[in-house]
Amino acid sequence: MVDRHHPGKAPTALLQRLSGGLCLTIDQLADDLDLTNRQVSDAAANLLRRDYLDRMALGCYQLTEAGEQAARAGEVITSGPKGTRDSHQLVRNTLRQRAWSAMRVRGQFTVPDLVSDASTPGDGNPADNLQRYLRGLKSAGYVVELPRRAAGTKMTSNGFKLFALNRYTGPKAPSVLPGRNGIHDFNLRKDVPCIPR
């Protein structure tokens, strides 16, 4: 009887049962392995994700060539990672991520420009957030402050600081390290310290 509580036992048993080019239905497999139909279906889904299985008809399975090789090699299916992660990692949809994309497109920008491009109705105080973010990026040399300013409109306003993207390392927005002098660059996968003044 297959241990029903071990996450890898049922797929491993299924892999071995189907070896040799057999094509069996869920009912036959459930009888042979003493599993419920649901457990057979879940185990089959596990093998399908690994490209070890073909679904010949509804509820009828046969091993692929890769599956046959794995069965011959006596592979034990476990619940752990299946190797290195080749697929892309999702870029988080945050205000700072969107602002980083906008910086890339614009090249030169003010805080209001970034707010206009990156903010969504759910953002609390985007201007304040982005000002702090730009301060962090500037300290690490990723953004430089240009000598001229965009004209302000308020009385006695000194205008808006004009920034330029100085270092673009990739699409993932760097994050400002809390309490430390620097940023973490997810594209380079390392911390970048502040440039000493």
Partner: protein
């Protein structure tokens, strides 16, 4: 000035073209050509769209060749080009990763696309344009080619690409309604219709000049107490309203209209 994004007619045309791409009949017709003179809001529109959708943005360079394009794409997809060997393998990684990204975006109900800015610089180069077509075709990825004057003409040289880009969006100067929408949405002081009309005329519909005018109107309007209609043309008589894009000189409102 309020940092609001205003959906002018040009922006609506751009969104409509993307909608047509999503609802297209021929799957390979997935290119959109965006062109127009500088200062009409192309960069602002694209910057907003790229930021909100997480799409891939590339800026074409004069010396681009096939390898450079693929390397830039790999970098934008967070893949170190050095770790992928060979042209074929690099192309395969680009295609598979773009497919994954498009699928993730569609699960979240978003459009994911590839934007190539300053496409005029490479639009007469068959090698680059065919590479873009190849990438776009394999994943039926919405591809937005952005340029100014020559892009549309150059594409006629490549019928196989031209046929994939039935959606063309030309950014045109803002009309009175667009000027009014821009001023109403971004200006922090109320502006009277006669001044809106004047701004529309002297700016010749260029967003850049309209925004310049809004800044001038705000600076003036904050200092006075405007009437119920807002700042009128008469209020600002003799004041500079914007700088002329050809001469760089300030454009002033005539003292006597």
């Amino acid at each position: 000035m309020k940092p609001n994004f205003v959906e002018t007619t040009n922006v609506q045309k751009f969104y409509a073209a993307l909608k047509r791409v999503n609802e297209r009949g021929a799957v390979e017709a997935c290119m959109v050509v965006v062109d127009g003179k500088p200062g009409l809001g192309k960069t602002t529109t694209l910057s907003r769209w790229v930021a909100q959708t997480g799409s891939i943005y590339l800026r074409a360079q004069k010396g681009w060749d096939y390898n450079w394009l693929i390397q830039e794409l790999l970098t934008e997809l967070s893949i170190d080009p050095v770790t992928v060997k060979g042209r074929r393998e690099k192309f395969a990684r680009v295609i598979s990763t773009l497919g994954d990204r498009a699928q993730s975006a569609s699960l979240m109900g978003q459009t994911f696309g590839l934007v190539i800015d300053e496409c005029d610089l490479v639009s007469n180069r068959a090698e680059i344009m065919e590479a873009i077509r190849g990438i776009s075709d394999l994943r039926f990825l919405p591809t937005i080619l952005v340029g100014m004057g020559t892009l549309r003409d150059n594409l006629r040289r490549f019928p196989q690409i031209e046929s994939r880009a039935p959606n063309k969006v030309e950014f045109l100067p803002a009309d009175l309604a667009d000027t009014n929408a821009l001023i109403e949405s971004r200006c922090e002081v109320q502006v009277a219709p006669d001044l809106v009309d004047f701004v529309c005329r002297v700016s010749r519909g260029f967003n850049r000049e309209i925004l310049d005018a809004i800044a001038h109107i705000e600076r003036f309007g904050m200092r006075i107490d405007p009437g119920p209609e807002g700042i009128t043309l008469a209020d600002m008589a003799g004041q500079a309203i914007m700088n002329d894009r050809n001469t760089g000189k300030p454009v002033c409102i005539p003292a006597v209209m």
